[in-house]
Amino acid sequence: MKIVASFKVSPETQDIQTRPDRSLNLERAQWKVGTYDLNAIEAARQLADEVGGTVVGLSAGGSALENAKLTKDALSRGLDELVTVVDENLVGSESYQTASVLAESLTEIGDVDLVLVGAGSSDEYTQQVGNHLGQILGWPTLNAIETIEAEGDHLKVERVLEDGVQVIEVQLPAVLSLTSGANTPRIAGMKDILAAGKKPVTSVAAGVLPSPTATPVSQLAPEQVDRRQIILEGVDAAAELAIHLKAL
């Protein structure tokens, strides 16, 4: 089985600073593979180990993807090879634009049986690239997948809804977006990191992106709500808090 684990790299949120004018300073932010995207890589590895096959990583984005440390990190998490689509127009691209680019790259990769996507990216968290991608390809498409089981020539998956679980048989090829609790991504060991350096990385062209469907106005830190900041310490703190709570 040829499984593609799709992921997005984005600036580490913890490293982003806010300037007094509420604009963002990303200069010190390291670019990383999305937290939930690691679930897609892990699920792909586990399935490939079980039924046999290869795991191809696929990521579309800006020049951050040319950073060898970053691609090596992605490869060390269980990928066999990596395909990157690098184009500055893909920085901050809309979910449908990204999905269109990914769909084209999948055709180039060829013979793909399954595409796995994380719950959502670390920056936009639109939770839609997998849904768009499946529709563009005309493949069976599902979101919120918690478990994947191979059953002959198809998969049996569990999908988590607000009020229950659907058990669904999925014919291949298909696109599945996972839940954030689908698995616990592995931490790469020294051996994995060394092996990652020898794995192939291929770069493919992005082609023409579909037009954006909105015009950006601003990107700012939210306005701070003024809080009272009455911080209590010491043995009487709890009793004092009780007085404040009763007064609400």
Binding site: Q128, Q135, P140, N143, G164, V170, Q219, V225, A242
Partner: protein, 297 residues
């Protein structure tokens, strides 16, 4: 004329979204799968929920109906999100998860979170149908008249080739509606073991509040149901009182609670970021503070 479509698979959700949508446009139509006539809609298109098929199979039929609309609005549940993605792709547009929307003439301006709530993106929507997933409180409130409209069948049959639902297990959904709760008590990793949550439950009962949690409590140690976690990937609340116990206050958590009227924090680390967002805070071990607080209330 601004034309808005609301797509839902539940009568109550459809009615709430339609009422709010009336404040944004002169025409509001709705597709309610498995539902009935929706009050306030100029037109309700109904379609049956068929066992063993997915409601997402109606995406092509819905795209055909809404393609000339200005806004196509979906709720945040899992099925609505997938349906939104499928409809949007058919219309060659992207889905936006909005936190607010305002209209000026024919132009709509929306906001949506970025970097886990660290930033807010403001955008004006382009011409053509815009597909929006709206969270609680994202649409403006509307108090005006609700017209009654026509009810028709949605044309088309559901089709999801390659997907077959073989079993549906309904789970006991917690009766709590965090979004509607006036007081919410959030518990975090400061609790050493599951049994200790009893203290928080006792405090919640005293304050007349609902119990919620941070993400690791629901997707990590699994001491709390997943619908109870607050934050960017969980529930967003705006209660009168939010009391966080043993929660450090990372941005991903705060984005779910920072519209609370009053925020109270109990944490043993006086440098925890939660204190910078708090109206009242107690620096102390929750195992000392909670019993004393329950006693004093």
């Amino acid at each position: 004329m601004t034309k808005i479509w609301v797509i839902a698979h539940d009568d109550t959700v459809a009615a709430d979204l339609v009422r709010s949508a009336r404040g944004l446009g002169s025409y509001v139509g709705t597709v309610c799968i498995g539902g009935h006539a929706v009050p306030g809609a100029d037109l309700t298109l109904t379609a049956p929920q068929i066992p063993e098929t997915l409601i997402e199979g109606y995406s092509s039929a819905i795209a055909e109906v809404v393609k000339d609309g200005d806004l196509v609005i979906f709720s945040t549940d899992t099925q609505s999100r997938l349906l939104a993605g499928l409809v949007a792709s058919t219309l060659k547009t992207s889905v936006r998860n909005i936190t607010s929307i305002s209209a000026e003439g024919d132009t709509f301006t929306i906001t949506r979170p970025l970097y886990g709530g660290l930033a807010v993106v403001t955008e004006t929507l382009g011409s053509g149908a815009s597909v929006l997933v709206v969270g609680p409180g994202a649409l403006p409130e509307y108090e005006g008249d609700l017209p009654s409209g026509e009810v028709k069948d949605l044309e088309g049959t559901p089709s999801t080739p390659g997907l077959k639902v073989v079993e549906t297990r309904t789970k006991q959904v917690q009766a709590v509606n965090l979004a509607a709760a006036k007081r919410v008590i959030g518990v975090g990793r400061g609790f050493a073991q599951e049994a200790d949550l009893e203290m928080a439950r006792e405090l919640a009962a005293k304050l007349g509040g609902e119990l919620a949690c941070s993400r690791p409590m629901a997707e990590g140690v699994n001491w709390m149901p997943v619908e109870c976690y607050l934050g960017v990937s969980g529930a967003t609340i705006r209660p009168d009182l939010y009391l966080a116990i043993g929660i450090s206050g990372q941005i991903q958590h705060m984005v779910g609670v920072n519209r609370s009227k009053v925020i109270v924090a109990i944490n043993k680390d006086k440098n925890a970021p939660i204190f910078t967002h708090a109206d009242y805070g107690v620096v102390g071990d929750l195992y000392d503070v909670l019993p004393a607080l329950i006693q004093a209330l």
